[in-house]
Amino acid sequence: MTTLKTYLYDEHVKLGGKIVPFAGWDMPVQYSSVKDEVLAVRNNVGVFDVSHMGEFFVEGEDAEAFVDGLVTNDIQNAPMGKAIYSPLCRENGTVIDDLIVYKLAPGHVLVCVNAGNIDKDFAWFKSKHTGFKCNLTNRSNDYSLLAIQGPKAFEILKPLLKDLPEIEYYSVHETAFENNPVIVARTGYTGEDGFEVFGTHEGTKALWQKLMSVGVTPCGLAARDVLRLEVCYPLYGHELNDEVNPYDAGLGWTVKGAKTNFIGKEALAPKKANYKLVKLILEKGIPREGYPVLNSKNEPIGVITSGTMSVVLNKGIAFARIQIDKAPSDEVFMVDIRQKPYPAQLTKKPFVTGGHK
């Protein structure tokens, strides 16, 4: 299979980025050290090339109504200028993708989807489009996307853009970098304050180079995965997939049952979870995806969906999917690491509290 390259590929190679295949793309996994990149984002500012993500535009008088009917979260009643995170579900309630809907202006909606799901999502959007007065376009190939993340993100980005007001967390604003139009959202996947900047390929390349020249740390997919897991954000293909519903992934809060209608509403009305997604922290050992999770009697009750070594805590952390009828009432779990059980503590809070606004 041929892999795709973002417009910034040569920049990553120039910076010594290690390139790995990811969701059909050749992406930088790390530049210097995962630890340094994670800490740059937690304490200062880092930038990720996330141009592999997909962009759909929905334009026309029914734009908000069309998107609202596809997703579980409430698009219609959210104010203009808001970004809304939501699962996209089938009629039976299983998750096609998780995405962010940006309400740019009346009748003007941007939807950002996961790289590996672009074709699947667009086919789904198209199949449900009949009867709505709005145009639907997949402009994933036209846009590059940078995520500038960390407590100093605003300070770094503000002087570079034509204007950047103190927009709220999960809000969006259209402006320009040099003469290139950009869509800037106060969103991200690290738990820190930061912005995601959608722009033209050339404009984004110029912005990337500018960020490098002012000392922003380039960060790769490995740091991104540690950061998102430390603050307990789910990842499609791991915590979410074609077989689970939003409740199985702890995303019940995104299902707005009061909405008149949306695809999956009926199936999701009983709020029925088949699994419980739990957060585990280990004093010893590093949990990895696929490792079995055991109860205190050493019986298998679930599986790790994502696991890593937390850079901030220096401990193994993981999401685990537990069969709901086997979720133990006590809080003692074991993770089977190479045929040895390691005690794991259940936690209800994120492993690390990010500093997003």
Binding site: K18, V29, Q30, S33, V34, K35, A222, D225, V226, G285, I286, R288, T308, M309, V311, R338
Partner: protein
């Protein structure tokens, strides 16, 4: 990839290095391996007294993002273990050749012929990456 491959050591295709001194072989992972793995955060090696078989896995090294098996370059008994690395496996990133993992007493010296020279290992790294 620029890499550091000392001429006095022998190597495996699984990126272990071996220092042969008499009937004892000191084993570590190469600079190429530590660089490919990234930040090393966990190490598991067998206890002194464990018997190893050439080519079998004898432990694991984990970086933040990955788990890699370690392969025995030789058959023999583990006679030493680098306890300096317990609690600070990141030393391997800083000095791959100074951070040995185990020492093995060689059972069959003819097996040493299976190991790659520095030149052969360099060629192997160039051709496979």
């Amino acid at each position: 990839m620029a890499t550091n491959i000392p001429a006095n050591l022998k190597y495996t295709k699984e990126h272990e290095w071996a220092l042969v001194e008499g009937d004892t072989v000191t084993v570590g992972i190469t600079d190429f391996a530590q660089s490919a793995l990234g930040d090393i955060v966990f190490l598991e090696v067998p206890a002194v007294g464990t018997d190893l078989k050439i080519g079998s896995t004898f432990g694991v090294v984990e970086s933040i993002k990955s788990v890699s098996d370690l392969y025995a370059p030789i058959t023999g008994e583990v006679v030493g273990k680098n306890t300096d690395l317990e609690g600070s496996p990141e030393k391997i990133n800083e000095d791959a050749y100074g951070s040995w993992l185990i020492k093995v007493k060689v059972k069959d010296a003819s097996e040493l012929n299976n190991l790659l020279t520095a030149e052969q290992y360099q060629e192997f790294c160039n051709s496979s990456h």
